[in-house]
Amino acid sequence: MFPPLWGNLPATNALLEQLWRELDEMGNRFDASLRMMLTADPVEVGQTPAEVVYTENKLRLLHYRPVVAQPAPVPLLIVPSIINRYYILDLMAGRSLVEYLVSQGLDVYMLDWGTPGSDDRFVSLDHYITGYLRRVVQRVRAHAGQEHIGLMGYCIGGTFSAIFTALYPQYVHSLVELAAPINFHDSGLLSQWASPEHFNVDLIVDTLGNMPAALMQASFNMLKPGAQIRQQMALADRLGDTQGVQDFLAMHTWVNDNVPFPGEAFRKYIKECYQQNHLVQGKLIIGTQQVDLGQIQCPLLTITASRDHICPPDSAAVLNDLVSSADKRVLQVIGGHVGTVAGHGARTQMWTQLSTWLREHRSSPDGPGSYG
């Protein structure tokens, strides 16, 4: 209790008491931030134990060490976005979707696309799907000794997974789409900004080669102006909360660890998907084949996030109207594009429901669409 200075004036005392408390907390925060600067370990991300089972160019295929004696027979391959690092799905201990799925007895593989260099500017969208992704799927099948695998794609990785499943349905047992854009003519800002009237993708690719990560990052920041300032202020307000600061730093590390989009793949992705919306119209050609999403017949779970400003819910949910699967479900969770998979509420909001669905659909390795 603050000692009464000017008699027993309650208002003055309350004010001084408040001032004292605020100064005390300010001191504590300053002290904590100083301690953190002097002693903090570098943020460790992507820590779930895994071994590399395949590499090609810059990509790596990771197999997470199972923690149960007999993991589910059908392996799950996670395909992350190609413009962000994979470890958002394995951020840090206690905040990792991968760690959670492994603990639930699933046999999990992860595709780490790596960081493209200027020598990758000619790698096309077709190459990503019929080359890299197809070979990785074959490796997972061979490594797990299973004919069919489960696919789970996040963001652009989800778009790739849907295309892959439509082209090669014989390999996919079940499909999970996590905030994956399918209909690109949506209400989102990215759709507006990428329109052919405003965005000259040919000029960018011809001049710069790959689409630079910094340019993409700047566009994403402008989708939610003020969000970064708000985050910095929130950090300043809770500097004394060590765990909170570690969480912030891990997320901050990921947000600023973007990778460039290979030029030719970017050109086709923007033109065919964002500008002409060919995927939903069944006009997208990958390799020599036309992508018909109606070829997807396996069980499908589409997860959308209610406040997703990168992939609005409608853009992802439309997939369920286009596939032929008898077993399909849309799960809408409250949150944003990233918070849904790695936010504080992700475990209760999304992970548990995802894990239940996966376990229900991973028990029988009989074939695509057949499950126990």
């Binding site: 004010l15 408040q18 605020e22 904590a32 000619f122 000029l203």
Partner: protein, 118 residues
């Protein structure tokens, strides 16, 4: 450490009021910016800005590339465009291999398995 939650409605908590004011200002600014970036004019202006930057900087980049190419040629070293054209050729070869690989896979899968001999 205990965290004190500021009370932005309590006149006895000036810091809480200041934080409340700060948050309200930021909210208003964010909302205004959100509306601004949502306009057709913003999309048009940023597109034009990017195009102008790329177009106007092109001659300078070309000049630098040309002088660099001359220097590297004198030193008997490959230029960036030599390396990227090699990368292009390699990518094309990889893609043709991908096609062959995929065709081989589908051939092997469609081939009926040999009946086991008793």
């Amino acid at each position: 450490m205990s965290q004190h939650r500021p009370d932005d409605t309590n006149p006895m908590d000036p810091f809480g009021m200041m934080k409340g004011l700060r948050d309200a200002n930021l909210d208003a600014w964010s909302k205004m910016m959100q509306q601004f970036v949502n306009t057709e004019g913003y999309a048009q202006a940023t597109g034009k800005m990017l195009d102008t930057y790329l177009t106007t900087s092109a001659p300078f980049r070309k000049l630098i590339e040309q002088s660099m190419a001359q220097v590297l040629a004198q030193l008997n070293m490959p230029t960036r465009s030599d390396v990227t054209s090699l990368a292009e050729r390699l990518t094309n070869i990889e893609m043709r291999l991908d096609d062959l690989d995929a065709k081989l896979d589908s051939l092997l899968e469609s081939k009926p398995s040999k009946p086991e001999q008793e």
